[in-house]
Amino acid sequence: MKKREANMWYNDLPAFVPFFIAAALALVTRGTLRSIIMLVIIVASGLHLWLLPESLSVNLHFLEYDLIPYRVDRLSLVFGYVFHIAAFISVLFSLHVRDTVQHVSGLLYAGSALGAVFAGDLLTVFVFWELLAVTSAFLVWARRSKRSFESGMRYLIIQVLSGVILLAGVLVHVRTTGSLSFEVIGTSALSGWLILIAFGIKAAFPLMHTWLTDAYPEATSTGTVFLSAFTTKTAIYMLARGYPGTELLVYVGAAMACFPIFYAVIENDMRRVLSYSLINQLGFMVCGIGIGTALSINGTVSHAFVHIIYKSLLFMSMGSVLFMTGKIRATDLGGLYKTMPKTAVFCIIGAASISAFPLFSGFVAKSLIMAAALKEGYHWIWLLLLFASAGVFHHAGIKIPYFAFFAHDSGIRTSEPPLNMVIAMSIAAFLCLAIGIYPVWLYTILPFDFAYNPYDISHVLTQTQLLFFSALAFVWLNLKGIYPPEVRSVNVDSEWFYRKFLKRIEHSVFSWIWQTDSQLRSSVLDRIRGLIVYLAQLHYPTGKVSVQRPTGYMVIWVAILLAAYLWLLLSFPSAHH
């Protein structure tokens, strides 16, 4: 298809507008009509984006600042494309749900993500940053349980906190540079650090990641598919735009790629396993941003692209399991391949993609980052990423399909999920394979022009060796009985800090306040009581005040007074007139 001329008026229509319109229409329509409207608008918006010229910006003068609410370039376009794909798949996957809240918030959420990646100035970024937080929280709350409500609350507080830090950073940035435009920021100034922390919270940097593993498994079976695509990848885009080549990110990314896989191995909730592996995948992307070469940024962007698709496929397969069986813990599942064979196949395709098997989409993207790490001399980082690649196959590639669909037979007999869910999963599975087999299409839309062939014999062989021997390790550990059995449990993570430690602090602070307060009050009350008792004693029949005196007393006193008066009068006669 040919790109349109640059000067057409409708080019200036920001990408989030169709989504917000679709959300408004979804609010007032029902059933099939709503389904058609939602899907058609997303497809139309995607086509519109596809036809846009490669560079475009809309300027707006507001107060004394130049705003760029809409900026299209090659970096933002890739994210725009994949967000449309993700929105289409997620909406299709949730069509059977009769819940207006989920449909409307899902569309607003996807629209906000598009608004954020096409924002050319930091104020617009902030607005959509907060919209992302608010609209997505409803997808957690839509589960309508006490657990999901509390989890959604914690999620929202942390997300809004990220927004507040972002705003602070932006304000300092404007004070020092005088410009709102969103270009490379870097960490040379305080504002740069503040904005990096704000982005880092949503990109699930280590210790700031628990909102993700807390809330994503608590959202609805369809809501998590939305959630997995937008928030974190918007943050990845922001980091790629504002902090390419920041060396710190290489180490942060390596840590993110490695630590979650340990948690994933011992986690029981399947969607929490996927949440941990999501952080592991983000680690690769953050690492690519930190390396900052054209190859590594291309790697990050292409990894984000394919990751959104296979991650949503995995979350869809587990969402289908949850929807059909009402269970999601590994301890409760097993043997579902018998009655959900299609879902099992889709899950395996997603698992093969995330594990970067040759011919699957992860293979053609992850290797760019690995190659860049080697090329730039980050050898230790490369070894860590290689370990993380083996680990991701171990927990996401094998554990997820194995414990849900195979392992011991749980005795659950169900059926395939509704047709719309199956179609959504097949589209995602098709894309995983299509991009894996024919990566050239993906490579041409990346921000930097480059030539790369992932299918050379060394690369295919080494990656296959890595994965097959990881599988061998799984089999061996299982046969030897070393593999940790699934247990109904939670594992303490850094959320312990605010869910337990702060709670304890809060508890002890409040109990101290209560104690001091009650002591103070009781001592004041004691004094008042003492006073009352004293007064009462004075007035009791035997009290000093209540002594009964005969009237003669009074007469004597009057006589004494008179005598004194007389004496005074006679002693000082001159005072008398």
Binding site: R144, T325, G326, K327, F387, R488
Partner: protein
Amino acid sequence: MADKKQYIFDNPKNVQRLIRALYVCCGLLFILDFIINRHFIHPYEGLLGFYAVYGFVGCVILVVIAKWMRTFLMRDENYYDQQQVAADEEEGGEHVVQ
């Protein structure tokens, strides 16, 4: 169990076949390392069977460490909300055949 139907992995022989196929694949892949002259950037990469050994050992270490981490990380399911009964998932589940 609700159905008497035999599925593919109900037969332990099929499981054995699958595992044996994996062994054969691993063996072949290891042998290929001797035949194909791989190009490499990092000196480690050039070692014979580096990727195979790294994948196997890496995963074993991963699982052993993760298992050890359970000794100090694992808590009861209601650790964070004591008053809350471990309610089963509130949605879905109406499609299970009894």
